[in-house]
Symmetry: C2
Subunit: 458 residues, 2 copies
């Protein structure tokens, strides 16, 4: 360990905000499998993707060879409003746990969207504006992505239509007002405003929705309205690319103090935070320059990595999106009304799925009540009220730190604290009142869902 | 202006967190009038104050001569968890307004309490712990002070009982959950749990409460329970002392870049933020070393400075607290159900009142709808959703910047952005729906309230 005293919060200067995003795929020997056209079963071309996504984002999505992609000045200027984000040494948590482990977290919650989602939202809004579009549509789970996109669209003067997973819409009424403050329109999903929404409602009356449903609705609206494109806050390669700013900053901050993490931990819903946090570290691992234990943490109620199949599947419930090869619970799987709305996705980033499949990372699942125990413990000593999603990573980091306490190992742990829980107080209230439950899918449920996976030879 | 490029956010290092608070009273020729015992009409002694406040805080309250008071290491350690707070150059707001003015704000919202209140909460909890007390009681308006105190008490292992102004309790149910996360108990005020609460409820059935009521209840509970003391989040000299950390940091950051503000603006409820922000600047002004325009901004619905009387009055509605000489609307004045809960206090810090009376600062009042217009404008360009309280300062800062646009003057404006509005979305919703009103007291209302001021010869 370095002799330099490590402050509580390591801040880079604004000049040190990365000038390029890092594209992990460039260093992968086994590239992630391509998106397929569900009609033909063939890899999707840029032409086929361009009615859905902005042209420049399509290019980023398909680019698996360029390691660094320049961040346009307009985006870096916006980043400067809330970045660099702090890398925090969790001295108080270490003391509370009485662990010899050294715990660091990269805190992405100090902006009004409340999470890391803004990193990709501003990039996607920028490219939409550059292409001369009128607006964008999207889905949101916990509401963090929708808020981030509303802020980004407001900044560039774009219209923004958000389909919000119904369970979150109801549990987080205030999120809607934040989005309205930034001029967005918000619809609870599934809704009667789309064909696919009507179909899902007919088949599953009373459903609380899922990210998969909301994606279907947003894609339908984007493709039916001229001048609109769809944008997605997770899963896609382009999103992981933009989110690499998290890991690049974290690594630069650690390098300044000669800190090398032994274990890197991130929560995983679609993979945006995890893929961004680990990017430069995984790059070193892929190039054989360094080794790290990398752990994905998912909710036991929606365990794509730990209990899913590695197979081609639809990204959405309505089965109108491209097919992606990924760890999936099946696009027909609807998780229980878990409060960690942002982790309620049936699938997982193709890039992360390939890396997991190839043994470059581990995965673990944790139960909701134990996640909130960790959240409350963290809040009391570190002073930050964490989002339930982020608290999955806290749970796993505490577990690893407690193992170090048993073995006496002084491991260095880095985890991603993706956001704050100011809009998650309904869930905290349930936890305080002892009304929170751990709902885990049965094997039968999963088998039924796997049986509906599309048949693809690839 | 300096040739150095000024970043968006100026951060001091953790070593640069002030090592001592600055006590403005030491440089005042006309000291603020002493607190009086309402029974005897004589200045209160330390002995008389000690059943209400911790001993060390009593000493700070009465010390009008020591200019700098050391910040104990335990408090500086806690400060390090969320301080130094950034001084932000509002480049985007300037561009939006097309003003030649240079606008800076000291942002105190990047912590879970959501405001500057934590600066004094941790100090007061520390001294209570040091004295071996069991717990503390307090009132809270917007809920920011209560949250801050809950966090501070949790850190030092103290019990925390919070009386929350009923209108805020109802409009901000989630604030209660944050306080519970930190282990506090929260009661809506006025309540049936105290004698004074019962009396107020009998006289004003259906009242939405006020800070004055809540203070009465909290003081009663503290004085009736052994091992408890009362703590207050504003108004008092000790609170302004602790909050001087805001201004000291702001001035240090500005000095680094040779920036000298022409105008300093803060919202004013009881005066904690304003008194803290202006402290070192006012010190220079009092010592004749520099001049600044200093502007207090208050809600038109609760205009203590601009329409109040400079007189001795009770700090609380129940008339059980000491008498303070201050600008007051009368302790029987209950403001309309204004959403800026933190500014709903009938009086004002004695220190600030004396400075205002002696011409060292100005005051202005602004109406609520124009405050929310400014808040939304600010949120869209600066990316931070401001608290309604803070937005009073934003409104005044924008007004000054627009005057500069007319005159072409390149003035430098510094304002305090005291907190975030994540728990104020009910108010934002009313604003979006066009349901927000501006309720301003009539002259008759104020005259009736003034008629009830206590008769004191001083």
């Amino acid at each position: 360990m370095s002799e330099k005293k490590i402050p509580y919060k390591i801040y880079l200067s604004e000049d040190e905000i990365p000038k390029a995003w890092y594209n992990m795929r460039a260093d992968m020997k086994n590239k992630p499998a391509p998106l397929l056209n569900p009609g033909t079963g063939k890899p999707l071309t840029a032409e086929e993707l361009s009615p859905i996504f902005c042209d420049e984002l399509v290019a980023q999505e398909l680019d698996e060879n360029t390691p660094f992609i320049d961040i346009p000045d307009e985006i870096r200027n916006f980043y400067t409003m809330y970045r660099p984000s702090p890398l925090v040494r969790a001295y108080c948590l270490e003391e509370k746990l009485q662990t010899p482990a050294k715990i660091y977290y990269k805190f992405e919650g100090n902006n009004t969207s409340g999470s890391h989602k803004l990193n990709s939202a501003i990039a996607q809004a920028y490219y939409a504006k550059k292409q001369g579009l009128k607006g964008v549509t999207t889905e949101t789970g916990a509401g963090q992505w929708g808020t981030a996109l509303s802020m980004a669209c407001s900044y560039f003067g774009l219209d923004c239509k958000v389909y919000m997973v119904k369970v979150s819409y109801e549990q987080k009424p205030f999120r809607r007002e934040v989005m309205r403050t930034y001029g967005a329109s918000v619809v609870p999903s599934p809704s009667e405003t789309t064909e696919v929404g009507k179909k899902i409602l007919a088949e599953h009356p009373g459903t609380t929705g899922s990210l998969g449903c909301a994606i279907s609705e947003a894609v339908e609206v984007a493709t039916k309205n001229p001048g609109y494109r769809y944008v997605l806050g997770s899963v896609l390669n382009q999103v992981l690319l933009h989110q690499s700013v998290i890991g690049l900053e974290a690594k630069a901050a650690m390098d300044k103090y000669d800190i090398k993490p032994d274990i890197i931990i991130g929560c995983a819903g679609g993979g945006s935070n995890l893929g961004g946090l680990i990017a430069p570290f995984m790059g070193e691992k892929l190039r054989g320059e360094a080794d790290y234990r990398i752990i994905a943490v998912e909710p036991a109620s929606c365990p794509s990595f730990t209990r899913g199949k590695f197979a081609y599947d639809f990204c959405d419930t309505g089965m109108i999106c491209p097919l992606a090869k990924m760890y999936t619970l099946g696009s027909s799987f609807i998780p229980s009304a878990n409060h960690a709305g942002g982790l309620r996705f049936h699938g997982m980033s193709s890039t992360l799925s390939q890396l997991y499949h190839d043994g470059y990372m581990e995965a673990t699942s944790v139960e909701q009540t134990s996640v909130f125990e960790a959240a409350e413990q963290f809040a009391r000593v570190e002073g930050i009220l964490p989002a339930p999603e982020s608290s999955h990573a806290i749970r796993a980091a505490i577990n690893e730190a407690l193992k170090c306490k048993e073995t006496g190992e002084e491991k260095t742990i880095l985890f991603g604290l993706t956001g704050t829980g100011y809009f998650d107080l309904v869930a905290y209230e349930k936890f305080h009142n002892g009304e929170m439950t751990d709902e885990i899918p049965t094997d039968e449920q999963l088998q039924a869902s796997f049986a509906k996976l599309p048949k693809v030879d690839a």
